[in-house]
Structure formats: C-alpha cells, structure tokens
C-alpha cells in the first residue's frame, strides 16, 4: 500500500488521528510514494512526549536526513523550522543509515516543548530530504482543531 497508486490523481488522504476535538489529515506530496503515519494520543493538548508511528519505503539512502516543517494558516506561513534527524558521524536513530528500498518503520516519541493547539484549521507542509537534497518524503497535512 506504500507504493504505486492504484490509478487516479495523487495519493489518497489518510487520517493520522481523530479524537478529542482534533483531527489530523495528510496526503503524500511525493509523486513516487505514499507513507503511513499516525499519532497515538490525539488531543489538542500536545504532550511533551508525543508518540507517533511512521512507516515508509525509502526511495533514497538516508546517511543523513533532514526535515523541514512549514505551518500555514489562512494562506500565510507563520512558522518554519528545519531539523536534522540523522547526522553523518553521530547516528541518533536506529534508522539512520538505512538504504534505498529498505522498509523503515518508526514507533516512538517525538520530542517537543508541549503546547496547546489554538482553535482553527492549519496547513502543515512536511518535507524530508537526504544529504543530496533528494526528497525522501513529503506530506501536506491539515490540522483541524475545534
């Protein structure tokens, strides 16, 4: 299910979580592949140790891996950040250094400062790329909080 769209345009929209007044939907924006993602505790009060699950078949080697996140509300970006996930000398995670074609599944916490999501609808663009800036994964997510 992670590879090859069954015809049609673009990848289907998945639900990462829907509970406690929060709904997170996402769609892969990588033309080559879809991926699986879910958030364990769905709440507008984001805990410091948020547990996520993430599965993808790698289209590139990831000796190094970086993620760029852009938050957009009402069409204007208001938050951007870039974070190194895998660095060359000091592989922090067990999936660092994995190979193109390898399955990669992560279930675990995501460190963050812990915050409450204000009411509203947000668009989040998440892009992951490797040391050659080749795209590893890409997602357009919608966060609806009410």
């Amino acid at each position: 299910a992670l590879l090859y769209p069954s015809g049609g345009h673009g990848w289907p929209t998945h639900t990462a979580c829907r509970d406690g007044g929060l709904e997170v939907l996402y769609q892969s924006c990588d033309p080559l592949q879809d991926f699986g993602f879910s958030i364990d505790q769905c709440s507008r009060h984001v805990k410091q140790n948020l547990s996520i699950r993430f599965g993808i078949i790698l289209g590139e080697d990831i000796q190094e891996l970086f993620v760029d996140v852009a938050l957009v509300t009402k069409g204007s970006p208001f938050f951007n950040f870039s974070y190194p996930i895998c660095e060359k000398d000091q592989p922090k995670f067990s999936f660092c250094g994995r190979r193109k074609g390898e399955k990669f599944y992560y279930a675990g916490p995501v460190n963050n400062i812990g915050f409450d999501i204000p009411e509203g609808e947000y668009q989040v663009l998440v892009e992951m790329y490797n040391e050659n800036r080749s795209p590893v994964g890409c997602a357009n997510a919608t966060v609806i909080c009410c």
Binding site: G59, P91, F93, S94, R98, R99, G101, E102, P109
Partner: protein
C-alpha cells in the same frame, strides 16, 4: 529491374545510417550521463530494458517488477560498474545472471524477497567491491554464495534474518573485506567457533557492525587475540547484566575503535551500572565512543578506570556531570563531549589532551578556564557560552593552540589580541556576537592564522587596522557584517596570501577601487547579497589567480566595461544573476559583453532585465543590438526632419508675402497686367504723386495706367494682400518714389522688399527708382539693400528746373514703355505714340 535493385541496395544502408543518426529514445529510462548513466527507477519495467547502450556503466533499475532474473540477463552491458536492483520484487536469481559483468563494483539488491541463492548466482563479478543485500530475507551467511568474490571490500547484510554470527569458511577468500554490516538481524549468541575464520586469515582492517541484534550471550574468549578496525555494538543488550557479561567476554580483543551505546528510539537499558564497563580493562582500545545511554552518569569517575590508556574518548548524548574529576594521569589525547547534559562548563586539567571538542551542550553560562597544556584543537561551538574576555593563552592554559572554534555562542568580548597564541591557524567565531573588535588590531599577533570565520558576528568594521597582522591568512569569511559607510575601504593590505574571500550580505554599496589590489593570490571572491549598484571589472584585472567571482543578488544595473580590459586568465565562473540589469541602448557595451562572455557566466539564461518597463522580466540575452542601431537611425532622421521643418517654418514666416507673390505669379501668369506700374511711395509724398506723376503719366501721351493705393486698392482686403495682388501681380513695373519719408515708412520698406522679390521672380528689371529728394547717406544706409541698389543701378532724380523735369519725364516714359505689349488689352492705343510725343 537491375536499376531498382541497385537503388534499393544504396537506399537500405543509407536509411540504416540515418536511423542511427536520429536521437535515441531511452524510454522509459532517463539519460543522466550520455552513454554512461541511466535512471530507470519506478518505470513499471518487467524486463531489463533493451534499448540502452552497451557502454552503460551506471544503471538504476530500482522499484520495478523484474521478479525473475534469468541467466546472462545483463550480458548486454559488459561495462556496468554500478547496478541498482533495489525493491524489484526479485524472487529468483538464476545461475550466471551476472555473468560477464567483469567491471561491476557495486551490486545493490536491497528489499527483494529472494527465495533461493544458488552457488553460481554471483558467478562472474570478478571486480565486485560492494554487495548490498539488505532486507533480502537472508537466513544465514552460509546461504550467501560469495566465496569467489575476492575483491569484495564491503558486505552489507543488515535487516535480514541471520541468526548466527558464524563466519563461513569462504571468508578465508575475502581477504580484502573491510566492512561488514550485520546490524538489525537475529544474532543472539556469539560463540568462539563462529570467529574461527578470523584466526585463519587476519583481517587487519575489518569493521563490524552488530547493532540492533539482541545479543544474550558471547562465549568468553570468543574475540581473544582478534584484531578489528571497528566494532559497533549499539542497542544490543536488554539488561545491564547481559551487557556487563558480554563486554567481559570480549576480553582479548584488540580493536582500534569500539562504539557502545543505544539509539534514541531503541533504548532498552533503564539504568546504567558503572561496573558494566569493567570488562573493558581486558581489551585493547584506541578510540572509545559511547552514545545515547539513558541515565549514564559520570558521577563516579570509576566508570572510566579501564579507559585510562585509550587515546580518544567520545561521549555523545549522555547525562554527564562531574567531568572535573577525570584524573590527571589519564592519557587521553582527544575528548569529545557532544550534546551531553552538563550543568556548567567543566574545568578540565588533562595534560595529555591535544584535542577537545565540547559542542551542543548548551551550558548557558560564562566560559571558565581550561588548563590543558598540550591542547592544539579546541571546539567550543554551539554551547550558548559567553566570553567576558577573549582571548589569550591564559584562558585555555596552552600556548600550542592551532584550532579554535567559538562559533554559535553568545557574546564574545575582545579584550586582548591573542596573547601567546601565535600558533593559531584556524579561528572560527561565526554566529557568535563579537564585541569591541574595533577598538584595536585584534588579530595583530596571529601571523600564522590561515582561516578566519567572522560570519554573522554583528561586526561593524570602522577601524582601518582591523585586519592588521594576518599575513598568512588564506580564507576570510565575513558575510553578514558591515563596513563604515557601507563601503569597503582599502583595509585588506596585509592579506597577500588570501585565496578565499567572502563578503556577502555586508550591505556594501561601493568598493574602493584599490581595495582588492593587494589580493594577488585570491581565487574565490563572493560579494553576493550586497547593494552594489554597478560592477566595475577593472580592479579584478590584477588578480591573476582569480577563478570564481560571485556578485549575484545585488542591485547592479550595468557592468562597467573598460577598454583595453582583460579578465584574469584563470577566471572560470562569474555569477551576476539576480541583479537589476538595465537592458537599454545606453548599456549596449555591457550587454554585448555579457553575450560575449556567456561561457563564463553562471546561469546566463536566467539573467533577467529589470528595466526599462518594456524589457522587464525578459532575459538579458534577448536584448538585440539592432534595436539600438534602428533607434539611432530613427533619432537622427527625426532630428534632421525637425530641423528642416523648423527651417521651412522660419523661412515661410519670413518670406510669407514673397511666397504669396510667387503663388500669385503662377496663377495670373504673363500678359494679365492691368497696370503699367505700381507706385510705391510714402503718403507724405502723395501731393507730388497726384499732382506731378499721375497728371504727367496718366493724362500724358502715351497714357500709362498707374496702380495707386488710394485709388486702386480694393476695400475690405488686407493691405498686404492688396499690395501683392493688386499692386504687384497686376503691374508690369514698379516705381519706387524714394524720399526721406519713404525710408522712414515701414509699409514702404515692406513694399520695396516685396518688389525686390517680384523683380527677382519675374526676371526682368521692373523697378524704377525715382529719387524725389536727396536723402542723407546715413539714413539711406539703414536700408543696406536699397543703398546698394542705388549705388549700382541707374535711377531718376526729380529736378526743380523745367529742363530737368522734361528729361525726367522722358526717361521715365521710356522706362515704362520697355516691355509694354504691342496691343495689350484695355490699352488699345497705348503703343501708338512714340516717345517724341512726350513733350510737355
């Protein structure tokens, strides 16, 4: 028949030749490097593509549906060096599939559910150096038929189901093996017999990665007397006891680098027991690295007592606190502390330490002091440290420092100019805030410094001696700073050895023309993201070593091209993109230069015009010189036209009446004259005209008909029109009655001027001058033309005596008779009387 077969014989090879010439289609693959590299990733291939050239060296067939690789499948590509077959659903690889690939050095089989590997599966492959067999359902190293791959250097069998660490017999042949990745398998136990082959043939350079195998047991002495380059054991043990036992069982191993620890997402050990590392006393280790152990505490320094003799220690992402307690006797030469949860900056006293890396620890306090006499390399970046006084050898307790990195910290206040730090070769301050750097020549004593990074240090250079002393400097990075007056002054005079200069993002508007002159060895110059309005290439002529110049993202409107100007010989890249080029004819030379130097210019096709409005957004290359030539012609023609039109207008204005006369002449033609003469006179002389002239000429014999304004001008018509139409057009002759009054009358002078033109146009001498009274010469001179004419022409003079008057009338009649038609209309009897009848 014969001729047609001949024709066919000629045509067929010709068409074959032409078909060779047409551009090849590599569909569905993509050509990356012609004849060498082809990309066929995820293009729904069920077979090996046939249409690729046999010279192909790099072939990516990943993410297709090849499923079954047959014998000699790749024989068409004997030059292959890299073959990527990742995730192609390959279940069967037949014997001799890779036969003939004698050049192949890398074979990637990641993510294929291979069911069976035969002895001859990897036959051929006589040059294979790297085999990636990650996630191929491999159960055992025994199953891998690679014993003949003597050139193999790297074997990656991570993420499989290998349950035994037993290195098969065939490893004896793999004497070149340097790296084996067995991580993420099912190896639980390691026995002495598993490593037998390592006793038979020593692998001096072998690195082993066993991470992510849940190891329960290592037979004591299994690694005894074995030499390894590197052994990685991360996230292997699920309890401290197992870890402790296993490390003890490594006794006798000689390893250059041992890596222990966990991964951030694969932590199994909840607490750290200092005794776990006791076993390390029985190992010979050169470099020791430990990473991501939860609750790892250095409170009890006994943890490291087995590591007294290692030369390098690296601690990554640990909870380390009391580092001060490391005994002085330790022989560590290198210590790395990265992302460790330290409360404050440690005061270390290790006399052997040459290299100290202390980064990303975010201690957020003020730098204390170090007492490291042998220290040569110090990296204190990314700590949020403040330096109250920087820098002298006392701060670091060493006079041997060659490399100092204080980047990504807080405020660094410069208080001394690197006293006793003359050995420094590399100095990095980037993204820390430098204070008081302008007060004195901070770098004066750093005569050996080769690398200086001051990027984004909020430095505003106002002091001319800022760079004094940096005689050996080769690399200077200054982006994100500023200079006084946003102008680069001539302050780089000492930097004759500089090869790399980055002045990007410095808000520079101008550059002193001589500022770059001292940089005779400069190779790379970056002045992008400034506010330069023009680029004068002249200063670069002296920089004979210059290879790369980047002035992109400025406000350059035009390049100033000097005559007799030559670019440095070695210049290979010039980036002038993202500027405000004016694509106007006035910058034609500059734009032509851009076209001429397109080989040199980066992304010349993407260079766009900013002005004029008509060219905005269009490529600079689309500017045509011919438009300038066109417009030049247009401009000169229009100017000429304007001049001519104005000239005509002026002339028409001046000679308006003359022209009317000319038009009238054409209209009326010859022989239509009503009057014999038009009399021009001043109204003050009217008495004489009425009483003498009219009486004598009109009533005399022959009678002449005179045109007189008081009598013959048509009322209601403009005087000027009457003068021309009635006076001149209808009269044969003009009698000008010259007197003092005449000269003073403007109408008379006007009439006289018209008369002159009329005389000129009618090409006969029609003006008869009558001097009524002597006019003073001075008055006459006011009318230059008249004066000249009177001097040259014969004129009649009115006399007071009777004889004189008689002669006067005779001469006048004669003059009026000249040119009079024989029988003109309306004067039937006019010519009947000869001059003899003129007696009065």
């Amino acid at each position: 028949m014969i001729s047609s077969s001949c024709l066919a014989r000629t045509l067929i090879p010709a068409m074959a030749f032409l078909s060779c010439l047409r551009p090849e289609s590599w569909d569905p693959c993509t050509e990356v490097v012609p004849n060498i590299t082809y990309q066929c990733m995820e293009v729904n291939l069920y077979n090996i593509p046939e249409n690729l050239p046999s010279s192909t060296e790099n072939l990516d067939l990943s993410f297709n549906f090849l499923r079954h690789l047959g014998s000699h499948n790749f024989s068409k590509f004997p030059e292959l060096r890299v073959l990527d077959l990742s995730r192609c659903g390959i279940q069967v690889i037949e014997d001799d599939t890779y036969q003939g690939l004698n050049q192949l050095s890398t074979l990637i089989l990641t993510g294929n559910p291979v069911q069976h590997l035969d002895l001859r599966t990897f036959s051929g492959l006589s040059s294979l150096q790297k085999l990636v067999a990650v996630e191929i359902n491999l159960n055992s190293l025994e199953d891998l038929p690679i014993g003949h791959l003597k050139t193999l250097k790297e074997l990656n069998v991570a993420h499989n189901f290998i349950h035994s660490f037993k290195l098969p017999e065939y490893f004896c042949n793999l004497s070149n093996l340097e790296y084996m990745d067995l991580s993420n398998n099912q190896i639980h136990n390691i026995y002495h017999k598993d490593l037998q082959v390592l006793y038979q043939i020593p692998f001096h350079n072998l690195s082993l990665d066993l991470s992510l195998n849940k190891i329960d047991f290592i037979e004591p002495g299994a690694f005894k007397d074995i030499k390894l380059q590197k052994l990685v054991l991360r996230s292997n043990f699920d309890s401290m006891d197992v870890m402790k036992t296993c490390i003890q069982s490594l006794a006798g191993l000689e390893v250059y680098e041992l890596v222990l620890g966990e991964f951030k997402n694969e932590r199994q050990l909840n607490e750290f027991d200092k005794s776990a590392l006791e076993g390390l006393c029985n190992l010979t280790i050169e470099n020791f690295r430990i990473a991501f152990f939860d609750e790892f505490s250095l409170d009890d320094i006994g943890v490291f007592h087995c590591l007294e003799n290692v030369s390098a220690v690296s601690l990554l992402n640990l909870y380390v606190n009391h580092l001060e307690r490391i005994p002085k006797e330790f022989r560590w030469q290198s210590l790395e502390l990265i992302d460790c949860d330290l409360e404050q900056f440690p005061t270390l006293t290790l006399s052997s330490l040459k290299r100290f890396i202390f980064t990303a620890n975010e201690v957020s306090n003020t730098f204390g002091e170090l007492d490291l006499q042998s220290l040569e390399f110090l990296d204190l970046s990314k700590n949020g440290l403040s330096f109250r006084s920087c820098c002298s050898s006392r701060d670091f307790g060493t006079v041997r420092l060659k490399h100092l990195d204080l980047s990504f910290n807080e405020v660094i206040s410069m208080s001394s100019n690197f006293v006793d730090m003359e050995q420094l070769e590399h100095l990095d301050f980037q993204y820390s805030t430098l204070k008081r750097a302008n007060a004195f020549s901070v770098f004066l004593s750093l005569t050996k410094l080769r690398y200086l990074d001051l990027s984004y240090t909020n430095t505003h250079v106002t002091f001319d001696g800022f760079f004094h002393g940096l005689f050996s400097l080769e690399v200077l990075k200054m982006p994100g700073n500023s200079f006084q007056g946003n102008s680069l002054p001539n302050i780089l005079t000492n930097l004759g050895n500089l090869t790399f200069l980055d002045l990007s993002n410095c808000q520079l508007e101008t550059i002193d023309p001589t500022a770059l002159n001292p940089l005779g060895k400069l190779q790379v110059l970056n002045m992008s993201y400034n506010k330069l309005l023009s680029l004068d290439l002249f200063p670069y002529e002296n920089l004979s070593s210059l290879q790369v110049v980047d002035v992109s993202f400025n406000r350059i409107v035009t390049l100033q091209i000097q005559e007799r100007y030559h670019l440095p010989n070695k210049l290979t890249l010039l980036n002038v993109t993202q500027n405000d080029f004016a694509c106007a004819c006035e910058h034609q030379t500059s734009l032509q230069w851009i076209k001429d130097q397109r080989q040199l210019l980066v992304d010349v096709e993407q260079m766009l015009c900013a002005t004029p409005a008509g060219m905005k957004g269009l490529p600079v290359l689309s500017f045509r010189n011919t438009t300038c030539q066109m417009s030049k012609t247009i401009i000169s023609v229009s100017v000429l036209m304007v001049i001519m039109v104005s000239l005509v207008v002026v002339l028409v204005y001046k000679f308006y009446f003359h022209l009317m006369l000319l038009a009238g002449c054409k209209r009326y033609g010859r022989g239509e004259c009503t009057y014999d003469a038009f009399v021009i006179y001043s109204s003050h002389d009217e008495d004489w005209v009425r009483n003498e002239l009219v009486k004598n000429l009109e009533e005399g014999v022959p009678p002449f008909r005179l045109c007189l304004h008081y009598r013959d001008f048509i009322p209601g018509v403009a005087i000027s029109a009457n003068i021309i139409q009635e006076g001149f057009h209808k009269s044969r002759k003009v009698i000008v009655v010259v007197s003092k009054n005449f000269i003073q009358s403007r109408w008379c002078i006007f009439e006289y001027e018209i008369a002159q033109t009329w005389q000129f146009l009618s090409t006969c001498s029609g003006i008869i001058f009558v001097i009524l009274q002597k006019v003073e010469k001075s008055l006459l001179r006011q009318q230059v033309e008249l004066y000249r004419l009177l001097n040259r022409n014969t004129y009649l003079e009115w006399e007071d005596n009777a004889l004189g008057q008689h002669i006067f009338w005779r001469r006048l009649r004669k003059a009026l008779l000249a040119g009079k038609p024989q029988n003109p209309e309306g004067t039937p009897d006019a010519d009947m009387q000869p001059e003899a009848t003129s007696a009065m």
